[in-house]
């Protein structure tokens, strides 16, 4: 990685002048933390006492048998406190905020996971907290809003643009340029201006470090392939990082195929042909944009993958051929989710289920002695409103209708 925060031709720091100083300080604090072993120790300590790291690596024996190929292992980021890998990044940044002496944090959130994680961290560290969330997402993800508020955060519904994640990011930047003296912007994924992509990946690298040890202990050798879903790219970077140097391990990032790549209604930036290089939200990467450079509406059944950009580090790994990118459609995702629940008693988040789809496609062709790891970035039970909806479950609908009536009449 070059000095200016570039990864190959991607990355950079396209920020308004008013944030220049803030990023200098952030960069300094980040570098100091990286060079201070006690920081990582403190981080590990926090994650093992407040969250439950190391998270387990589960051998999915039933799924392995079902597909009759590779041994499928699942890295259980769903067991983190707040239910997803997002906690890793957020707690790490929390420690950094403490070091920088700031007293307030802000964050964007799409599905709400990163918002809940940030609100949680803020409560734990005693920071003030404001979460920006597209109005659409507020409406879709009310339970997460409820918890954020209960944790003491202010949730601001963003009414601009597509009223989703990217607009929440813009709005968070608008807050930041006004309040940078007291405030740190807890970016939720491995995107954004440098040093965010690298810093978020660093905190998330805790996943891959554990997984490498665990797979060797449990399976006896490194995995043949690793699958991770790719929204902004943080869980993927988290598990891939440690294995980049391992020739025998192929890394597969799975993007949201939505209704299918051919429909244009998806969020595939690195596979497919709809994305092109661009600069937005402070960094350069492959964006889903039109010929004028206006960002397009994306679609995915999973809010967390429904994003126009992608980690510049992943764009570079794509250029280098070090990570292969595939897409999973909404329908495939629901099928994989169903199978995983029934076979293993595990409920992947819709995001994570994308990684399962691709693993299920490839496992049967592999040797039963080979291991593959799926990074299960989060749990799906928080997303009941989306999942029950996606399954079009009639008794769920009836339940909600009844509840609604009760509330209407009281």
């Amino acid at each position: 990685m070059s000095k200016k925060g570039y990864y190959g031709r991607w990355g950079g720091k396209f920020i308004p002048e008013v944030l220049h100083q803030t990023f200098e300080e952030l960069e300094k604090a980040y570098q100091a933390a990286r060079n201070d072993e006690s920081f990582w120790q403190e981080y590990l300590e926090l994650m093992s006492t407040y969250s439950c790291r190391p998270t387990p690596l589960t051998h999915a024996e039933n799924l392995s048998k079902h597909f009759g190929g590779a041994q499928i292992y699942i890295k259980r980021e769903d067991l983190n406190h707040t239910g997803a890998h997002k906690a890793n990044n957020v707690m790490g940044q929390g420690l950094l905020v403490k070091r920088m002496g700031k007293t307030r944090v802000i964050a964007e959130t799409g599905a709400g996971q990163h918002g809940v994680a940030t609100a949680t961290m803020a409560a734990k560290f005693g920071f003030e907290c404001t979460i920006y969330m597209g109005e659409e997402d507020v409406m879709r993800q009310r339970p997460n809003v409820f918890w954020m508020e209960k944790m003491g955060a202010t949730v601001v519904p963003v009414q601009d643009g597509s009223k989703t994640l990217k607009d929440a990011i813009n709005e968070a930047f608008r807050d930041w340029v006004s309040n940078m003296d007291t405030t740190h912007y807890v970016f939720g994924t491995a995107c954004g201006p440098s040093p965010f992509p690298e810093m978020v990946s660093w905190f998330q690298s805790i996943i891959g470090g554990e997984a490498a040890e665990q797979i060797v202990t449990q399976h006896g050798s490194l995995p043949k392939r690793i699958y991770a879903c790719v929204g902004g790219g943080s869980n993927a970077m988290g598990i891939f990082g440690r294995f980049l140097k391992e020739d025998q391990t192929d890394l597969v990032g799975v993007e949201a195929g939505g209704y299918g790549l051919e429909t244009g209604k998806h969020a595939a930036r690195l596979c497919g042909v709809d994305a092109s290089p661009g600069v937005a939200q402070g960094y350069k990467t492959m964006f889903l944009q039109n010929d004028d450079g206006q960002m397009r509406h994306t679609h995915s059944v999973s809010a967390g993958l429904d994003y126009v950009g992608v980690s510049p580090i992943l764009s570079d790994l794509n250029d280098q051929g070090l990570v292969r990118f595939e897409a999973a459609t909404d329908d495939e995702v629901m099928e994989a989710l169903d199978l995983t629940m029934k076979k293993e008693g595990i409920i992947p988040a819709l995001e994570s289920a994308h990684a399962f789809v691709q693993a299920f496609k490839e496992a049967p062709t592999m040797d039963t002695k080979d291991a593959i790891i799926i990074n299960m970035s989060g749990r799906g039970d928080k997303d009941i409103f989306t999942i029950a909806n996606a399954f079009d479950d009639p008794s769920w609908k009836e339940f909600i209708i009844e509840r609604g009536k009760t509330y209407s009449s009281s």
Partner: protein, 256 residues
């Protein structure tokens, strides 16, 4: 440089200059034409034409909405660039493009600068393009006589101001405060100290923007800055009272 010289010359005759701003295609190019006519006729010194972008990260709610409405109304970059060229042909004051870097990047940095230069555009304001980024963008622009307008903020250190100055041309855009466009600014002691720091760092004219909304605001900075920049306020005015209110508003601002 052309723009800088023009501004310095104008400044000889006036206490303070005025740059106004419109969002291209919002609410329509026709309205843009009417508004610009009123601006020019009533003594504005130069005009910032914002090419809309879907993610205007440094803009507040008014300009943000104008960007988005313009795009969803179908405004294309091609139309914007044609409109810019038309304005340059029509009026004698300088016109600048303001936009976010992706618009330039996607168009091609070199191509964009050439197109602007060919159209006679005087300068470019790209708030998310610090001089460290882009492919020597400022240099290339200067080479084609299109002024890359650099921005100072209250958080910019003295040293960095001097550094930025080296890249810029035309004038320095001093944001009056932290934050985004559109909110009222307070011009207190801190602000004047900051403005003094700006003056120290550059010999270029100083434009002050972000939150200038009234004659009073303009008076506050008169004598300390060279040019006032009015943005969101005109958009709101046109939205609420129609484009023919722009002339009187400009006259009021200038105390005419």
């Amino acid at each position: 440089m052309q723009l800088e010289a023009y501004l310095k010359e104008r400044k000889q005759q006036k206490e303070i200059l005025l740059m106004t701003h419109i969002v291209l295609g919002y609410p329509s190019f026709d309205t843009n034409r009417e508004v610009i006519k009123q601006m020019v006729d009533n003594g504005v010194d130069c005009i910032e034409l914002q090419i809309p972008f879907s993610e205007p990260m440094a803009d507040g709610p008014v300009i943000l909405k104008a960007n988005q409405d313009s795009i969803s109304g179908g405004t294309t970059i091609k139309e914007c660039l044609e409109f810019g060229a038309e304005m340059v042909r029509t009026y004698s004051i300088p016109f600048l493009y303001m936009t976010y870097f992706n618009i330039v990047f996607k168009y091609g940095e070199v191509e964009f600068i050439s197109k602007a230069a060919d159209s006679g555009i005087a300068g470019l304001i790209i708030p998310d393009l610090p001089p460290e980024e882009g492919d020597n963008f400022a240099e290339k622009a200067r080479a084609q006589n299109v002024a890359p307008i650099l921005i100072y903020a209250p958080t910019t250190s003295d040293q960095r101001m001097q550094e930025l100055d080296k890249y810029g041309a035309g004038f320095i855009y001093c944001t009056a405060r932290k934050g985004v466009t559109g909110k009222q600014s307070e011009f207190g002691a801190d602000f004047f100290a900051y403005l003094a720091r700006c003056r120290q760092a550059t010999t270029k004219p100083l434009a002050v923007g972000f939150g200038i909304q009234s004659r009073n605001d303009v008076q506050e900075i008169t004598g300390k800055a060279d040019m006032a920049v009015v943005g969101s306020r005109t958009i709101t005015l046109v939205d609420q009272e129609g484009s023919d209110k722009v002339g009187p508003f400009i006259r009021e601002l200038l105390g005419n």
